[in-house]
């Protein structure tokens, strides 16, 4: 606990408490930059509206600690009115300096605002054919059999769920296999409060399905795929690949539902 909130400067606290330019922008001349670090727990979006190569308007939304919110707010003030070239030159250090400094450890993890701004500018330019977009997501080939799947069949891995009550109070991972798997996920919420729906879709491509699942309380993991099922002699953990972040992480679960052939049904 040695990073104390009190280690923040008065200016950081001011921007944290009264963030400037919160929100989203939409329109033809708008671009967005998204950056995040899932381990650290920060996610940042910066929207820019460009008129005559200048940032005419700018907004942000941030999930993160005090300095993540303050740096986002600060950079919107610094970038507003600047040309794109000038804005590209704003560095992490500039943001920190403008905020009268950040605690050393926060320099690395929370000061992503400059990265998000630069991503927005590059995405704006890419949309006009000027550069390569920052968010080109490489499609991952679907793997049909997962490491550990056969070893745990009947010990936490299910190909069909005839009686959802058997999964009462379990942490259940359901792999996206079309509408049947989505309906099953909703059903399972009557028996446990922990159902996780794993899909390679993005929020945009998934559309209504993801919305309905979320409303039912299902946790949806987008742009993700299962890599491995682990455990002692029952399912205890899965290794998940996050394509958006190109990152693998462990998640503790008790059951994995793989509806084989449900897509064709």
């Amino acid at each position: 606990m040695d990073v104390k909130p009190t280690a923040y400067s008065a200016r950081v606290l001011d921007h944290f408490q009264n963030p400037r330019n919160v929100g989203v922008l939409e329109g033809e001349d708008v671009a967005v930059g998204r950056v995040g670090n899932p381990v650290c727990g920060d996610l940042m979006e910066i929207f820019i509206k460009v008129v005559d190569e200048r940032i005419a308007d700018i907004k942000f939304r941030t999930f993160g600690c005090g300095s993540a919110i303050a740096t986002s707010s600060m950079i919107t003030e610094m970038a507003k009115g600047k040309t794109l070239d000038e804005a590209m030159k704003i560095t992490r250090q500039d943001v920190a300096t403008e905020l009268e400094g950040l605690p050393p450890r926060k320099m690395h993890c929370s000061n992503l605002a400059a990265d998000a701004l630069h991503a927005a500018i590059q995405n704006y330019r890419a949309a006009r054919g000027e550069t390569i977009p920052m968010e080109s997501v490489a499609a991952e080939p679907e793997v049909s059999v997962f490491a550990g799947e056969e070893a745990f069949l009947g010990k936490g891995v299910f190909y069909a769920v005839d009686d959802p009550a058997l999964l009462k109070d379990q942490r259940v991972l359901v792999l996206d296999a079309g509408p049947t798997s989505a309906i099953l996920s909703q059903d399972l919420m009557k028996y446990t409060d922990r159902v996780i729906f794993l899909t390679s879709d993005t929020p945009e491509t998934s559309g209504k399905t993801a919305e309905l699942l979320k409303q039912a309380g299902v946790k949806v993991l987008f742009q993700s795929r299962l890599k491995e099922i682990k455990g002692h002699d029952e399912v205890e953990k899965v290794l998940i690949h996050d394509s958006a972040e190109n990152d693998d992480y462990d998640l503790v679960v008790d059951a994995v539902v793989i509806l084989r052939g449900a897509c064709d049904a």
């Binding site: 990073v3 963030p19 727990g41 940042m44 600690c65 993890c109 002692h232 953990k237």
Partner: protein, 384 residues
């Protein structure tokens, strides 16, 4: 509203300790009058601490705190009993000190299995049993989680270990002053205790070592504490621990129902007032003073910072306050995703908490969460 990271010293404990810093300076090992007096004080303290957990006085080894007690229990036991086997089992939800001790033992040729917990944080007896091998010499599961407050089925685990001839260590720190700790009833062979967690001083604790359980010492010297913990005894600290234990033995029964009423009011109030909020840990089998929440779409450090500005202290399992920049292993062990663990907030009440403190949290917290959610790109309520 944070009694987990540290507890204040009870003024009555301080009063008991003060003479031992100045007038009563004797060393229990000396043969003169001051030495005899110190020796009597030390043995009186040992009796008091032993009575608190239903142990015999000579089963109490004073240490510099619970971390040292955990080290002495696991490392001391593993090395002393290596000829009987090289396998230990701990739970995924143990305090970080035990996880790091386990890694140390693995680097020194021992095998350590980690038994998972269910979504409420309870150790599964069947999964524990499945990990026992003929090589298993020690099982370590704490009385309760210091973070999410889940209470473990310690008595059943102790019985299981006893039946299989395996030593059972339990870290009792999170349960001190909140649960009735009874080493006989619970079949505990080794128990770690801290003085600070019963409103005693820091820098002192104890390890209960059941009669007949053999350990190697970690600190070697003049042979104090039955040769298991050499070095001149910290008499003021030990007197403070004993005074704190005596007070706790008398007052716990009155305090716990009060904490529980506060806790239940806080949990019900928060879950009712804040949408997309969840309680972490077990709904019933939880420490009387612990309320641990997560709020979708907001991060823990920014919650702490906002609450601090309104004069409220709390705790979070978010990586943003941790040395490692990793979210709490406890929250990972119950199956939370990183973003969920980052949105966690823990309140703990204690001896000096008043009902007004609960009311203040309920008054302030909904607005704080709402404000941060307005800034958040991942709060569900912001979508569409």
């Amino acid at each position: 509203m944070d009694y987990q990271s540290a507890k204040p010293l009870d003024p009555r404990v301080l009063e008991a300790m003060l003479p031992y810093f100045s007038e009563e300076f004797g060393n229990p090992s000396s043969l003169h009058k001051e030495g005899d007096a110190a020796s009597t004080v030390l043995e009186d303290a040992r009796r008091t601490v032993a009575a608190w957990i239903n142990a015999a006085p000579d089963e109490i080894i004073f240490t510099s705190g619970a971390t040292e007690a955990n080290n002495l229990a696991l490392i001391g036991y593993a090395f002393r009993n290596r000829n009987r086997g090289n396998h230990l089992i701990i739970s995924e939800i143990e305090h970080i000190s035990l996880h790091n001790i386990a890694k140390y033992l693995e680097r020194n040729g021992f095998r350590v299995s980690r038994v998972p917990v269910d979504r409420f944080g309870r150790v599964s007896l069947s999964k524990l049993q499945a990990r026992i091998t003929p090589e298993t010499i020690l099982i370590s599961v704490g009385y309760a989680s210091n973070e999410i407050g889940t209470v473990q089925p310690v008595q059943e685990i102790g019985a299981l270990a006893r039946a299989r001839g395996i030593a059972f260590h339990s870290d009792g720190v999170a349960a001190e002053g909140l649960l009735n700790i009874d080493v006989q009833r619970d079949n505990v062979d080794l128990l770690s205790l801290s003085a600070n967690d019963i409103y005693g001083p820091r820098g002192v604790g104890a390890l209960y070592v059941r009669q007949g359980v053999r350990l190697n010492p970690l600190i070697i010297g003049g042979g104090q504490e039955k040769g298991l913990r050499s070095g001149s005894e910290n008499i003021p600290g030990i007197v403070g621990m004993a005074r704190a234990a005596a007070i706790m033995s008398r007052e716990m029964a009155g305090e716990v129902p009060r904490f529980q009423a506060y806790r239940d009011k806080l949990i019900a109030g928060v879950l009712a007032a804040i949408p997309h909020s969840h309680l972490n840990g077990h709904p019933v089998e939880r420490l009387a003073n612990n309320a641990h929440f997560r709020f979708q779409g907001v991060e823990g450090e920014s919650l702490l910072l906002s609450l601090k500005q309104k004069g409220i202290s709390a705790m979070t399992g978010s990586a943003c306050t941790a040395r490692t920049l990793e979210p709490s292993h406890t929250l990972m062990s119950i199956g939370l995703l990183h973003e969920e663990a980052h949105g966690s907030l823990e309140f703990t009440c204690g001896r000096f908490t008043r009902e007004e403190d609960i009311d203040r949290v309920l008054e302030v917290l909904p607005g704080v969460v709402e404000r941060l959610r307005k800034v958040s790109p991942i709060y569900q309520g912001n979508e569409g």
